[in-house]
């Protein structure tokens, strides 16, 4: 399937197209070109495909079709969702967990407010729910953002236990969680990203519950039908097909991945001066993060790539800025020597064993070269 012989262990960054998405995309490319607002045959065909995509995504996410909109990306969905909630309430304040995706932090920074609050997490990455509820009661708060699962360490947040005051809506960023774990049920808006579940890139999903006060915060018409302009109908349909397929196989894939990740967690924990980060049980099934003392994140990622394994890192020297991961920093975890491994639906036990062996070799070699 892959164009290289690399064992791809970075599905949390982006996932190869699910076979169901690929077949649907190819079929829809020839049909879904029309403008879904037009009344001619091509337009009605595109409308049919778009409505079909919306209905499938709605059913998969536990929503109604008219509550679902397609956006340019998961980041775009978070921005539109969160800023649309605050715009509708007239209160700019956003309360969010300290380990939310940067899309949430950027949305808050874009509309400064004295009511913004970042709620701390414990060493496993769980947000302090009572502190979050208290912050949400401050005047000027227009929305709360809490992720379903953390994108870097995999910790699940107990979203359904959050007790918010009436009139303060909750946006759940479910981008890391969709297709991997059951989703929280108590939310007013939800954001997700198709290329994280095996759909094409360029398709985000914003769901806004009926009855929630939300308005389009950016230029253009109100409503969820054409967020950001002309929709990519074939891609939206492919995203829906992928989601349906992924959910149908979720329990089997997740059980297999959970066991393989346990194996990697044990192998990493057995390395000297290495800390596995995040909740060991209440976690995403396919993702694990660990940090190795005295090892540069760029060094270990490059070394593993040379050995044929593609992984990510939250260390500063591998990021676009000099700042280390805000997630690891908020948890008090070691930020250097960080490796994030996220399995695909087809990752095998043999690949995991080979990865664990290569990891031990390379960490030992890098430390020896550093004189430790």
């Amino acid at each position: 399937m892959s164009s290289t012989s690399e064992v791809y262990l970075d599905s949390a960054s982006s996932t190869p197209l699910h076979p169901a998405a690929r077949a649907t995309l190819l079929a829809a490319l020839d049909r879904g070109y029309g403008d879904p607002r037009r009344l001619h045959a091509a337009g009605r065909d595109a409308r049919l495909l778009l409505d079909n995509a919306r209905a499938v995504v709605a059913e998969c996410l536990g929503a109604r079709p008219d509550e679902v909109g397609f956006t340019a990306s998961g980041t775009d969905a978070v921005h539109r969702g969160l800023l649309g909630l605050t715009a509708a309430s007239g209160r700019d304040g956003i309360v969010h967990g300290a380990v939310e995706h940067s899309a949430v932090l950027h949305a808050a920074a874009w509309r400064p407010s004295p009511a913004h609050a970042s709620v701390p997490v414990d060493a496993l990455g769980h947000v302090d729910l009572s502190a979050m509820a208290t912050s949400a009661r401050a005047s000027g708060v227009g929305a709360v953002a809490l992720q379903a699962a953390n994108q870097e360490v995999g910790t699940l947040q107990p979203v359904d236990e959050l007790d918010l005051p009436a009139g303060v809506p909750l946006l759940v960023d479910a981008a890391a969680a969709v297709g991997h774990v059951p989703l929280p049920r108590r939310w007013d808006a939800l954001a997700a990203s198709a290329h994280k579940w095996g759909g094409p890139a360029g398709v985000g999903v914003l769901v806004v519950r009926r009855g929630t006060r939300w308005t389009n915060p950016f230029p253009g018409d109100d409503g969820l039908d054409q967020l950001g302009g002309f929709p990519d109908v074939p891609a939206a349909l492919a995203a829906a097909a992928a989601l349906q397929a992924v959910l149908a196989e979720r329990e089997e894939v997740a059980a297999r991945q959970h066991a393989l990740v346990d194996r990697i967690r044990a192998a990493a924990a057995a390395l000297p001066d290495t800390e596995v980060v995040g909740d060991p049980e209440a976690r995403l099934p396919h993702l694990v993060t660990f940090s190795c003392l005295y090892v540069g994140g760029d060094e270990i990622v490059s070394a593993l790539a040379r050995r044929g394994f593609g992984v990510a890192s939250g260390s500063a020297c591998t990021a676009s800025t000099l700042e280390p991961s805000h997630v690891l920093a908020a948890m008090g975890a070691l930020t250097h020597g960080n490796v994030r491994v996220s399995l695909g639906r087809e990752t095998t036990a043999e690949e995991v064993e080979a990865f664990c062996a290569a990891l031990a070799d390379e960490v030992g070699r890098i430390r020896a070269e550093a004189g430790l």
Binding site: L293, A316, P324, G332, L334
Partner: protein
């Protein structure tokens, strides 16, 4: 008397590597400081102390304003 290591212009994880290498040179109970502008050091020096069983004393400023992280050797 605090032993000081100058890692002002060293990228991560060099300040923590130098800290680990210098630890045996100070007596148990004494202070060891590393000066580092690398933003990761603010998180990684306390994390190193936790993982290696040493005491993190706190962050100060060197004379030129660079962050200075102080550690007490306890074992």
């Amino acid at each position: 008397m605090t032993t000081e290591i100058d890692c002002r212009d060293q990228p991560c994880p060099r300040p923590v590597i130098e800290l680990a290498k210098a630890l045996p040179s100070v007596e148990v109970g004494e202070l060891l400081a590393v000066v580092a502008r690398d933003p990761a050091a603010r998180h990684d020096v306390p994390a190193w102390c936790r993982m290696r069983g040493q005491e993190y004393v706190g962050e100060e400023r060197a004379a030129d304003g660079a962050p200075r992280y102080v550690v007490r050797r306890v074992s």
